[in-house]
């Protein structure tokens, strides 16, 4: 009963000073809206990163040659050529959790279509590599095992390459192009994958069968040598065992003794994602902290206005005490006023925050995700801020001496 009437009274008092209450609310509104908008942007960024990682394929393990050490001079990672097609085939046979293995060799080549030319990375891969890395096609399709076996002169183009070699509306599939002066037939075009997590254009590529690359275009350092091996597992939980098994199989194949370091490096998608996710996690936390600070400032606004209110209404407090209000009554009245500011501010803030997030997506084109957790937490936090910053003024009001309060001018 008392509580309800006090809420009604508090609302009326706030309505009485509309402008003042509005300006006080603004602090909380901005704080809550900032929290929600910032978290939405952070979450959006995180999901974009996760999407990028997923674009590498699912449950992928990559194996690169390690750097070499020749007479104490260390070469860069991938500098040595130690991996072979034989490794890849053997891994698939011996490591049972692997669903497939693929391989590629790479080089930069001149691509020519009619009068247009373009220079980009040419990958000679096994067909399995295409499935492991989860490429999909906007037209045409992949090359097959038969193409690999016969070293067919067929090519799949990335979107960027298509844009640079073909006029708008010209159909690339079926076209004859030349790679390093060797004629090829285009059999497919990849769907765009966009930028990689490292920032390079994943669509600026041409894929041809490994055997064709080895014999006719790129050449290899020795027969069957590859730039990297990719493998995949059915379940992400298997990645760890797969890595261990791959290491032991590879060490045995490369005849490495107990003390010798690996001459290859194994990376899983999880490893690669971690760094990126860590970055966006930091971003979210930072945005959250900034937003929380503004919420705190809003709380101080509440405290300020309540202190003014206590001073202004000293006489009223005296009257209330004279007719029998206990300290707890006075305290509750001011706390409820503070919480009302928090609740109303929080509610409006949530709406403004969602709106701001939407606008960010529409205007700036950033992905945003409105997380219901953030909404709930921001709202509860704003009420708590109201309560916390209401405590001091409310206590001050409750401790007034009724005689002095009644005499206050």
């Amino acid at each position: 009963m008392f509580t309800w009437l006090t809420i009604v009274t508090a609302l009326r008092i706030l309505r009485r000073n509309r402008l003042r209450a509005g300006l006080t609310l603004l602090g909380i509104v901005i704080g809550v809206a900032a929290v929600i908008a910032m978290v939405s942007i952070g979450e959006g960024a995180k999901q974009a990163v996760q999407k990028q990682i997923a674009s590498m394929g699912t449950n992928v393990i990559l194996i690169w040659p390690s750097g070499t050490t020749v007479g104490g001079v260390r070469g860069a990672q991938g500098g040595a050529v130690t991996l072979t097609v034989g490794d890849a085939v053997d891994l698939k046979k011996k490591v049972h959790v692997l669903t497939d293995t693929g391989w590629y060799t790479r080089g930069a080549m001149q691509i020519v279509n009619g009068s247009q030319n373009w220079n980009c990375s040419v990958y000679g891969t096994s067909p399995s590599y295409l499935t492991i890395r989860d490429w999909s096609y906007s037209s045409g399709g992949a090359f097959t095992q038969a193409d690999l076996d016969s070293a067919a002169r067929v090519a799949i183009l990335g979107q960027t390459v298509v844009e640079n070699l073909f006029d708008h509306g010209e159909e690339p599939v079926g076209a004859a192009i030349r790679i390093n002066n060797v004629p090829f037939r285009v059999i497919g075009v990849f769907s765009p994958k966009g930028q990689s997590a490292q920032g390079w254009d994943q669509d600026d590529v041409v894929f041809i069968p490994y055997s064709t690359a080895e014999r006719k275009v790129l050449g290899t350092q020795f027969l069957g040598s590859v730039g990297a091996i990719a493998a995949s597992t059915a379940r992400s939980e298997d990645l760890e065992t797969a890595v261990e098994d791959i290491r032991s199989v590879m060490r045995a194949r490369h005849r490495l003794q107990g003390e010798q370091p690996d001459d290859f490096t194994i990376r899983t998608q999880v490893d690669m994602g971690k760094v990126q996710e860590g970055t966006s996690e930091t971003l979210t936390v930072m945005l959250m902290v900034i937003a929380s600070v503004s919420l705190l400032v809003g709380g101080i606004g509440i405290m300020n206005i309540l202190l003014v209110s206590v001073t202004e209404r000293t006489r009223e407090i005296g009257i209330r005490m004279a007719v029998g209000a206990k300290r707890v009554h006075i305290m509750t009245q001011f706390l409820i006023e503070a919480m009302t500011l928090g609740v109303v501010g929080g509610f409006i803030g949530v709406l403004v925050g969602i709106l701001a997030a939407r606008l960010t997506t529409i205007i700036a084109g950033w992905p945003t995700i409105i997380s219901s957790d953030a909404v709930v937490i921001a709202f509860i936090f704003s009420v708590a801020v109201g309560l916390f910053f209401g405590l001091y003024p409310a206590n001050k009001a409750a401790r007034l001496n009724p005689i002095e309060a009644l005499r206050y001018e």
């Binding site: 029998g324 206990k326 300290r327 005689i403």
Partner: protein, 240 residues
């Protein structure tokens, strides 16, 4: 048959000492006073005589530094501030010189205030407050805010607020101090009528004609009772 009625108020050698900086002010210096139920007492004195201090103590807004004050048999000196608040709520009605209504709040809600802190249901609060307003002749003015009422009307709202909780003691501190003669008359008539109905009324004033309404006159000077005399024989309401 003699009915033994405990005195409503018993003050015994009450002292009140304030410290203002280095100066010690003795506002009350050994006041002893007994007031029976149903009396109409005027406490008189010039400003600085200590009458306001006495009034604050009688109204349970303050406690004596020394001595005792029993209200309706309870020693108020030993009570905590919340217990004093409860006594004010249950037993005491205040009427102030400056009306002391809550601004921008209707007459009805002002009159409801003591019942609000008593925790009565809203419907009952409204009914009792409306009845109290009617009692002081403000029927139809329930929704008016203080600024829409004249001084006399505001004071009547204050009286309605004081009597809504049916207190055993009505304390009026210069109730006519801010009013014209006509309004003063009306207010004093209401207070007299309430006393006729059996309510104990204590009036603090420095005006002789206001004090003349009371049946007993206590004069305070320099924190001590200078004179205490009955000015009118108590008029007993016939129970016919």
């Amino acid at each position: 048959m003699a009915v033994i009625v405990n005195p409503l108020i018993v003050c015994q050698d009450m002292w009140k000492v304030y410290r203002v900086g280095d100066v010690t002010v003795q506002a009350l210096r050994g006041v002893s006073l007994t007031i029976e139920q149903g009396e109409f007492v005027a406490i008189m004195g010039s400003s600085g005589s200590g009458k306001s201090t006495l009034m604050n103590i009688l109204g349970c807004l303050d406690k004596p530094s020394q001595g005792h004050y029993w209200l309706d048999g309870a020693d108020t000196g030993s009570l905590r501030s919340d217990q004093l608040a409860e006594i004010r709520n249950q037993q005491i009605g205040f009427v102030f010189q400056s009306f002391n209504l809550i601004p921008r709040t209707s007459a009805l809600e002002n009159a409801q205030l003591p019942l609000f802190y008593r925790g009565l249901p809203l419907r009952q609060q409204r009914a009792l407050a409306a009845a109290a307003l009617e009692r002081v002749g403000l029927r139809g003015r329930e929704e008016h805010s203080p600024t829409q009422l004249s001084g006399g009307q505001q004071q009547r709202v204050a009286i309605a607020r004081a009597l809504v909780a049916t207190p055993s003691l009505l304390l009026a501190d210069e109730p006519t101090g801010n009013l014209d003669t006509q309004s003063s008359r009306e207010i004093m008539d209401i207070l007299s009528a309430l006393n006729q109905e059996g309510m104990t009324v204590i009036l603090v004033t420095h005006e002789n004609d206001v004090a003349a309404c009371a049946a007993r006159e206590v004069v305070i000077k320099d924190g001590q009772i200078q004179s205490d005399r009955v000015t009118k024989a108590k008029i007993h309401v016939a129970e016919a």
